[in-house]
């Protein structure tokens, strides 16, 4: 009896499961990606019919000759570091509280997700007001509690501008981490905790021995998403500092968009996009390796 053909048919049908996804990815991601890859080797302003092939010249320029690019990467990296530690730390603590069944947990769940819902416009307006050097809320409250000498023009001062942008980003972003961490925490079966408590384990023990190991995949996910999301920060910069003062709050995406739309170096912008993408892949792979090592311990 020939059993090859029936198998093939069944297998073929199973490929249908992934077919829509593959088609979508192929069309709307891989195709544009290759277009951009192609364009990065050309000097092109995005408009004229002629493109000049320059090979790796643009890549060389970005990597070796463009200190502003690396400054923007470093600045995005700084915000990312802050986000990983403070933003996710806060999200974890809050998720733990809510998971433990604190009073009004339901209410908090909704409230913490309000920042991500807000549009960039509102966030820009509000935080511009809070950080304003002349009549902003922050300086107002500092003066009220007697710390008036700390008042600054937060968003215009090169020492504080970047950190303030980071604060806004973290404020907006912690709701996401909170949700994902909460979902992860909630999926740990309660009986594990009950069993541990019956055995007399303290809160810290429970956290260390049960919560953390089970949550590692979630931690990794949150970490990767935070890095990816934060390195691509853009809207907040546009609505608060515009990359200034000087170049102090420039980030990779603002540099790319500036080249693409405002100084007609489309090919160069594509090259920047590629360098950026590769840097992010490297970061993500690094994180996944670290997590694999953590899982082994």
């Amino acid at each position: 009896m020939n059993t090859v053909f029936p198998n093939l048919k069944a297998k073929g049908r199973e490929y249908l499961f992934i077919l829509p996804a593959v088609i979508m990815l192929g069309l709307f991601y891989i195709y544009p990606f290759f277009k951009i890859f192609q364009l990065s080797f050309f000097d092109w302003d995005g408009i004229s019919k002629n493109m000049i092939f320059v090979g790796l010249a643009q890549f060389k320029d970005i990597i070796f000759d463009n200190p502003i690019w690396w400054q923007s990467m470093a600045q995005a990296g700084y915000i990312t570091l802050l986000a990983l530690i403070i933003q996710n730390g806060l999200a974890l603590i809050l998720a733990l509280f809510v998971d433990r069944g604190i009073k009004y947990g339901q209410v908090y769940r909704v409230i913490f997700f309000l920042p991500p819902i807000l549009s960039g416009i509102v966030i820009g307006l509000i935080w511009n007001w809070i950080f304003n050097g002349n009549f902003g809320l922050l300086n107002y409250w500092l003066a009220k509690i007697g710390l008036g000498h700390l008042a600054k023009t937060w968003l215009a001062d090169p020492d504080t501008a970047l950190t303030c942008v980071a604060v806004i980003h973290m404020w907006k972003g912690f709701g996401w981490g909170f949700i994902i961490l909460l979902a992860g925490l909630q999926s740990i079966p309660r009986r594990f905790y009950e069993a541990a408590r019956i055995d007399g384990a303290s809160n810290w023990d429970v956290f260390k021995r049960i919560t953390v190991p089970l949550m590692i995949p979630v931690f990794v996910l949150v970490m990767i998403l935070t890095v990816l999301g934060t390195m691509q920060i853009y809207d907040i910069i546009v609505s608060t500092t515009g990359g200034g003062p000087g170049y102090h709050t420039e980030v990779p995406v603002s540099r790319i968009i500036a080249q693409m739309l405002h100084s007609s170096r489309f090919g160069y912008a594509c090259a920047m996009g590629l360098v950026f993408g590769l840097a992010l892949v490297a970061l993500s792979v690094m994180q996944m390796n670290i997590s694999k090592r953590l899982k082994q311990t």
């Binding site: 199973e14 709307f28 990606f33 951009i36 603590i93 809050l94 769940r109 549009s119």
Partner: protein, 281 residues
């Protein structure tokens, strides 16, 4: 004995107090912008940046009516709802099917394809909208709803597949086997067993993607020409001139756009909390 209880009670009280303080502090910073936005929507243009108080001098509820009519919100609202439902629905459908295949089915080459998806998640392409436009022109999908919907589904694809796969990997084998014995097809298992187990993933993806689609505007501006196809964000642009912004109306418009999302979130977040019941037995 009594002293031990007291110490325990006090420790509990302090930790409870601390945790509540932190929670309340964070909550205040979260709620404040919304309150400011709402109160601004009821103020007048002159009042908005002059007075610091959150209480408007007069309650101009008319701002909402004006914002709705001048912003043309009726059509845009329906469009946004349509886009959100189709994109989120399409995304969950396509990604869960693919994730199920990656997780539970044996297909030669599936691992390589899966890694390609993961790589796609990690390599963003900023400024891809121009390339996408060119592609859509080639496909004849410029200024069509389909052309607006499909690329948005593909944007969240990798992450959704990853999330679903994580859940599907944990499905106990014996449940699947018993279902197959009872004559359930792979598709049936996906629908009846896998998806319900992954409800938290569905909820998270639904929320992520709803927000993304609801707040999207650049892609809409580039791809669509007809006003009749534009989403809500287009309506808000009316109030933001290049130089002159009508703040109260803008705030009223934004409040209108924010309410449905809050409602959806309220609805969805319960499902995250339900979580996996102890081993789907």
């Amino acid at each position: 004995m009594k002293r031990k209880i007291d110490k325990y009670v006090i420790k509990n009280f302090i930790s409870g107090f601390l945790s509540h303080s932190v929670l309340i502090l964070v909550s205040v910073t979260c709620i404040f912008p919304l309150v400011w936005m709402f109160s601004s929507s009821l103020k007048t243009q002159q009042e908005i940046f002059k007075s610091m108080s959150l209480w408007p001098a007069a309650f101009n509820w008319a701002n909402y009516v004006i914002a709705w009519t001048r912003g043309g919100f009726g059509v845009y609202f329906l469009n946004s709802v349509f886009y959100t439902v189709t994109v989120v629905g399409g995304l969950i459908l396509i990604s869960s099917l693919a994730a199920y295949a990656f997780s539970r089915l044996t297909l030669p080459g599936k691992n390589i394809i899966y890694y390609v998806f993961l790589a796609a998640m990690m390599i963003p392409i900023p400024g891809a909208f121009v390339a996408l436009y060119v592609l859509l022109v080639k496909l004849g999908l410029v200024n069509t709803r389909l052309g607006y919907i499909l690329p948005q589904i593909s944007i969240g694809l990798s992450l959704s597949i990853y999330l679903f796969k994580t859940f599907f990997d944990n499905i106990p084998k014996d449940i699947e086997d018993s279902a197959e014995v009872e004559g359930c097809s792979k598709l049936g298992i996906w629908w009846h067993i896998a998806l319900p187990i992954a409800k938290p993933a569905v909820a998270v993806i639904a929320i992520f993607k709803t927000l993304a689609v609801w707040n999207e505007y650049i892609f809409a501006m580039i791809i669509l020409h007809d006003k009749a196809k534009m989403p809500l964000q287009r309506g808000l642009m009316i109030f933001q001139g290049a130089h002159f912004t009508e703040y109260p109306l803008l705030m009223a418009g934004i409040t209108i756009t924010v309410i449905p999302v809050i409602v959806i979130y309220l609805f969805m977040q319960r499902h995250i909390i339900q979580g996996i019941t102890a081993g789907a037995v």
